[in-house]
């Protein structure tokens, strides 16, 4: 079975400060890891993914994520938060064999204060 944990329901950060949204995963085999963002009353938008290669992945809107195999983590980061980054963020995992569908975490609400 595969699973994702997002330990924080909400993260608060001041505009201009760095932000981190945490994600840990459990999967047998090689993981494929994804981050999505959801703005109010909208569907999910893809931000970035890790398939293989460089552990630091860069994505949309200045976000990046670091894959850490030993800690089974894939934390989302941004050097300088914007108020417009306030949204719900989901981490998701799949593996290189078997099931085609993603397994999602419970989501983390990011609140960036001006």
């Amino acid at each position: 079975a595969q699973s994702v944990a997002q330990p924080e329901d909400q993260v608060n950060v001041a505009e201009g400060n760095p932000l981190t949204v945490k994600c840990t995963y459990s999967v047998s085999g090689n993981p494929y890891l994804f981050w999505y963002v959801q703005y109010p009353n909208r569907g999910l938008q893809f931000l970035l993914k890790y398939i293989t290669g460089d552990n630091l992945v860069k994505g949309s809107y200045g976000f990046e994520a670091e894959f850490n195999k030993s800690q089974t983590s894939f934390h989302l980061k941004k050097p300088s938060a914007l108020v417009s980054d306030s949204a719900l963020y989901f981490c998701a995992v799949n593996k290189d064999t078997g099931r085609r569908a993603l397994t999602f975490g419970s989501g983390t609400r990011l609140q960036v204060q001006p």
Binding site: G43, K49, G98
Partner: protein, 116 residues
């Protein structure tokens, strides 16, 4: 741009009604998915389809069925709606290359269903 559309943004139905949620994608994707989203639970997979007329159960298929008669269209059916099916329903699609495991899914805007 990939486009996934869902037939309704908001829907209110009565207990016991049969409910159809429609999803259409325009990217010729082989894989299509239905999730429901509930606060604190994230997205949970109801059903997915990897080809026309093919389907597989997800994690929470009870009370739901699906239909895929054409490649671009994937329907979710609530045979007899119940109040515990009040939720946000999200449709997604992805390519099937190498099973599609490493390819991102593209989501529709969602249908917020209320069953009274």
């Amino acid at each position: 741009d990939v486009k996934v559309t869902q037939s309704s943004r908001y829907l209110v139905k009565r207990t016991g009604e049969k409910v159809f949620l429609e999803c259409v994608q325009d990217m010729d994707h082989e894989n299509m998915f239905w999730y429901r989203q509930d606060p604190g639970l994230g997205l949970r997979l109801i059903y997915f389809s990897y080809d026309v007329k093919m389907k597989e159960k997800g994690d929470i298929p009870e009370g739901y069925s699906v239909s895929r008669e054409k490649k671009e269209r994937f329907s979710l059916i609530l045979e007899s709606a119940s109040t515990n099916q009040t939720s946000m329903y999200l449709c997604a699609s992805s390519t099937a290359f190498r099973g599609g495991a490493g390819y991102e899914q593209y989501f529709g805007p969602g249908t917020r269903l209320t069953v009274t």
